[in-house]
């Protein structure tokens, strides 16, 4: 951090403490609600959803070999293979948002071309294990599943449209030098932890659940201790810790802010802008989502807050879809990679398809 940044940060905090009227009831309530929401997340979601999700992300990055999947996105891959693969492979290729853009650029210029690349770019951030499960737990399983399916489908449509409009294929292929990273044990280990998370999310008899979780947890521990070389287990733990370190602070801040805005933001505004399952509300949600930056997973508490204030279901889905795949910072990098014309077309398509799928979901509901 540069000295200037530190100064600005301190100045900002000072101004905040100077001007905020902490005595007024609305401020006090907002802050209290921020802590209440943190309390709720700590009790409900940290141990059974976030912690397993970090371990899974660690497994993906330390123990799974990605070359085979990447080949399916290469320059010689068949279209009907590369599109679906691009739509779902974000789950194992893009565990963190900072890895998505180089991958996108690679698929575009060196691999399967602009279509599958934009499919990957749109679906990548939304399709990861943590995002799907946290959405499902916090906002309900119907929305969690709708988010996943709508994102995958919309991603393919967006990619196909981009290819139809611009017809650019990549060439050259990727360079990977990962060493002997993964084998079948890695896959088993991954599935074991995934089943832990799925089971933790199910609404079944608590005793059955606890026994199941205990069994799976114990097998995971056994496998971690005896199933791999020391070095590998260490790498797994350090990658896991890396994710936790990177994501948790932002998420906690996000949850707190979500709690604060639940009290601070007037309900009428949310209801007027986002309160109906009509074209206007859904479009507004898509556009807000496209510009706003959500740190990994923070879209969930923010959307939760807006739901409580009266956002309708259609706009909710639209906001989640557009919110995850675009933000002002990512727009800049995408424009650099694609050039203005293609980039703006892509942004427009994201807003368009998020709106369409949001509307559909709102109508069905």
């Amino acid at each position: 951090m540069s000295e200037l940044k530190i100064f600005l940060l301190i100045a900002l905090v000072f101004v905040l403490f100077y001007f905020v009227p902490f005595d007024s009831p609305i401020v006090a309530q907002s802050i209290l609600n921020g802590f209440k929401m943190l309390n709720d997340y700590a009790r409900q979601h940290v141990l059974l959803c976030l912690v397993p999700a970090f371990f899974i992300a660690g497994t993906i990055s330390a123990m799974l070999k990605k070359d085979a999947v990447l080949k399916l996105l290469g320059p010689n891959a068949k279209r009907f293979v590369s599109y679906p693969v691009a739509a779902v492979s974000g789950a194992i290729l893009a565990v963190c948002s900072c890895t998505i853009l180089p991958l996108f650029g690679g698929i575009y210029k060196k691999g399967a071309g602009i279509g599958p690349a934009t499919t990957f770019l749109f679906a990548g951030p939304a399709i990861n294990v943590a995002a799907i499960f946290l959405t499902a737990r916090v906002l309900g399983w119907d929305l969690g599943i709708a988010r996943m399916l709508a994102t995958i489908t919309a991603a393919v449509f967006i990619g196909l449209t981009m290819e139809l409009l611009f017809r650019e294929k990549g060439s050259g292929g990727f360079v990977t030098a990962q060493g002997n990273e993964g084998d079948l044990r890695g896959v088993v280990f991954f599935l074991l932890q995934l089943s832990f998370m799925i089971l933790a999310g199910l609404r079944i008899n608590n005793n059955v659940k606890n026994v199941g979780l205990g069994l799976i947890g114990a097998s995971t521990l056994m496998m971690a201790t005896f199933g791999f070389e020391r070095e590998k287990t260490k790498l797994w733990l350090s990658e896991t810790w890396d994710f936790a370190k990177k994501i948790l602070p932002y998420l906690f801040v996000g949850v707190f802010l979500a709690g604060v805005i639940t009290k601070l933001l007037p309900e009428e505004i949310v209801v007027r802008l986002l309160g109906r399952n009509d074209l206007w509300s859904t479009l507004v949600a898509s556009v807000i989502g496209a510009f706003m930056y959500f740190a990994t997973l923070t879209e969930v508490p923010i959307v939760q807050a807006l739901r409580e204030l009266g956002m309708a279901k259609g706009p909710t889905l639209a906001l989640l879809m557009a919110g995850n795949s675009l933000s002002l910072p990512s727009m800049i990098v995408i424009t650099k990679l694609l050039g203005k014309k293609k980039a703006f077309t892509y942004f427009a398509l994201v807003v368009l398809f998020s709106t369409i799928f949001g509307m559909l979901y709102g109508v069905v509901d």
Binding site: K66, C98, T99, G105, I107, K109, K110, V175, Q178, L337
Partner: protein, 80 residues
């Protein structure tokens, strides 16, 4: 001639860590090498790299998608 060690990555924490490890390895081994950051996304992509951090020694890509351990970093430096 000094070896050219390029570290690819868009300035994320993992890439910074990789640079640090490579610099430490160079110092400990006492080899003649310079570390160069490559942050331009178009440059990274045009080299065929899809997973960052990545490392190239004298233009040849030797590691992608992970932070090397200090031992791995030394191996990279001595073998390339």
């Amino acid at each position: 001639m000094a070896k050219k060690v390029e570290v690819f990555g868009k300035g994320c924490a993992r890439c910074k860590q990789t640079i640090k490890i490579m610099e430490t390895a160079i110092k400990e081994l006492g080899v003649d090498a310079v570390v160069e950051k490559v942050e331009d996304i178009n440059e990274i992509v045009s080299r065929g790299i899809v997973a960052t951090p990545a490392i190239a020694v004298d233009g040849k890509i030797v590691l992608t998608g992970k932070i090397p351990t200090l031992e791995e970093a030394k191996e990279i430096l001595t073998q390339n």
